[in-house]
């Protein structure tokens, strides 16, 4: 492992996305508002949850260059906690989501404190193995119901007023959660804090010599990433009314890495695109008789070998070229 000078050659985050105007945001909002009239709202809401999850994952990878292979632990544990809060304690969705997010943040603190000192591959392996502990716990703890998972989780009401069983109310709630999460991630990335993290990624020894407490910065972004993954997981439970061992399985950690990579790690919007692509492939190819897992695996391999910037990254590069 190199400890000297630039430690990463991950694609750098382009600053170009920042000022490209409110027009894009307006367009995105229109698309989000219109989506449920063209596609099944339940599916659209689920996609948004995974998009937020991918963005949260990318907050860690994109800013600090740390690849976590254990993010399913945060997503899944929040899914379970939120599910339990909704179903058994009868809490409203807002509180359940908050509890889920806090759980994920607490777990993020523990995982981060243990793994953050190690770099690169070591970090990936340690997060992966730690997450697997949560997976096994999901089989053993009394409230997770082992293989069955938490089924038929009631959605409750949003703000105590609107019934979330109405698919449109449920969808727009998911949109709200997604937008809040996404804007928060944008804000964090462009903040001084985010810039310090990027500097650490580019040249850690220099940042240490400048007096930055490198590890606490990394730990902080790890916790933020975990908390937002938790928010995504909790919302997913509300949407699909199910929290199961699939949510905490390491394949979910792999899938979220895949989404972020496919969309473009160096961009803010990339993971959203990646989430939409992967979820749509799974949804629309489900009845095609094709081996979906193999198709996605092949696409992923090609993506790593041929266009590492991801879909959005490549598009941005083309746009810069044409200018």
């Amino acid at each position: 492992m190199t400890t000297g000078a630039p430690t990463s050659n991950l694609p750098a985050s382009p600053v170009a996305t920042r000022g490209s105007g409110y027009a894009w945001y307006a367009l995105a909002l229109i698309v989000l508002a219109a989506a449920p009239f063209f596609i099944y709202p339940l599916f659209a809401a689920k996609v948004l949850c995974y998009c937020l999850f991918a963005c949260a994952f990318n907050l860690l990878l994109g800013t600090s260059g740390l690849l976590s292979f254990g993010h399913a632990a945060f997503f899944g544990s929040a899914a379970y906690i939120a599910g339990h809060a909704l179903k058994v304690w009868g809490l409203p969705f807002e509180l359940a989501a908050l509890l889920g997010t806090l759980t994920a943040a607490a777990l993020g603190f523990v995982f981060g404190a243990l793994s953050i000192r190690r770099q690169g591959l070591y970090f990936a392996m340690i997060t992966l193995a730690l997450a697997q502990m949560i997976y096994f716990m999901a089989f053993q703890l009394p409230f997770t119901h082992a293989e069955d998972g938490l089924t038929a989780v009631p959605r409750g009401k949003i703000l105590g007023l609107f019934d979330l069983n109405n698919l449109y109310v449920m969808y727009y709630t998911a949109v709200a959660v997604f937008v809040i999460g996404y804007l928060l991630i944008v804000r964090i990335t462009h903040s001084t804090f985010g810039q310090v993290l990027k500097a650490i990624r580019e040249n850690q020894p220099r940042m240490i010599s400048l007096g930055y407490s490198v590890n606490s910065y990394k730990l902080m972004v790890f916790i933020l990433s975990a908390a937002l993954s938790g928010l995504a997981g909790a919302t997913k439970t509300m949407v699909v009314q199910l929290a199961s061992t699939v949510d905490v399985h390491w394949a979910t950690s792999g899938d979220v890495a895949l989404m972020a990579l496919l969309g473009g790690v160096g961009t803010l919007f990339g993971p959203v695109a990646g989430g939409v692509i992967v979820e749509s492939l799974q949804f629309y190819l489900a009845d095609s008789g094709l081996p979906i897992q193999a198709v996605i695996g092949a696409i992923f391999v090609l993506c790593i070998l041929l266009f590492r910037q991801g879909v959005v990254g490549e598009l941005l590069r083309l746009r810069l070229k044409w200018r």
């Binding site: 050659n9 190690r118 096994f136 391999v301 790593i304 070998l305």
Partner: protein, 289 residues
Amino acid sequence: MSTQVLFGQLLIGLINGSFYALLALGFAIIFGLLGIINIAQGTFYMIGAFGAWMLLHYLGLGYWWGIVLAPVIAGIVGMTLEKTLISRIYKIDHIYGLLLTYGLMMFIMGMFIYFFQTAPRPYPVPPELTGGYNLGFMFVPKYRVWVVVVSVVFCFGTWYVIEKTPVGRNLRAATENPMLTRALGINVPALLTLGFGVGVVLAGLAGVLAGPIYSVSPIMGGDLVIVVFAIVVVGGMQSILGAIVTGLSLGVLEGLTKVFYAHGANMVIFVIMFIVLLMKPAGLFGQEK
């Protein structure tokens, strides 16, 4: 608790430990040499088992052919993948190696599930190894003894080759300093392919050995690889001896946990990893860098 249960679980632990050791050893070789986390290690384990099953069902070649040919087939598949795909990403960030092998695993597993479904297929114990020994306090099936013996022989054989022979010396040199090794006229890319092949062959061998015990299925190696990860972290990422010793001993420990606290059996290896990370982050046999 009867001694029979205790020794029964000890034996199962030893069997699992043998598989862990073979897989972890292959993993450590690949990681040390190529700097790649081969998450597809479990997939090559599955390919080994399926290779033996296919040889039996399509060509009528029995276990003894299988145990020789199937790991070789897995090795050829692995070396081809290394030469054509994996070797392209050595120059970029190492996390892409993890992601690439993850994609390959998805692809290979997906294809196997597509063609063979996930239902386990039985693979018979060869007639020469049926039956067992009655030790008075317990009954030991011959095949299980065979598995442990083969694993231990191959693990320490590999260790011997790497530590004591000229080929191993070159391999270690390529691990320590590939540039300098190359400058001395040693073909490092070929060594990398060879190293990857060796790691994969060990996984394939474990797969063939596991066939008669756990049946053959496309998903058989999926979760195993995560346990192997934990073992390698405990043993020290690049340590050959660490992988072997930790693999065997944690397998046994897992078996023992099943006797005393059945619920904790799946977790015990990860708990150990947790503790080791706190006390000795480089692993039991690793060196802090």
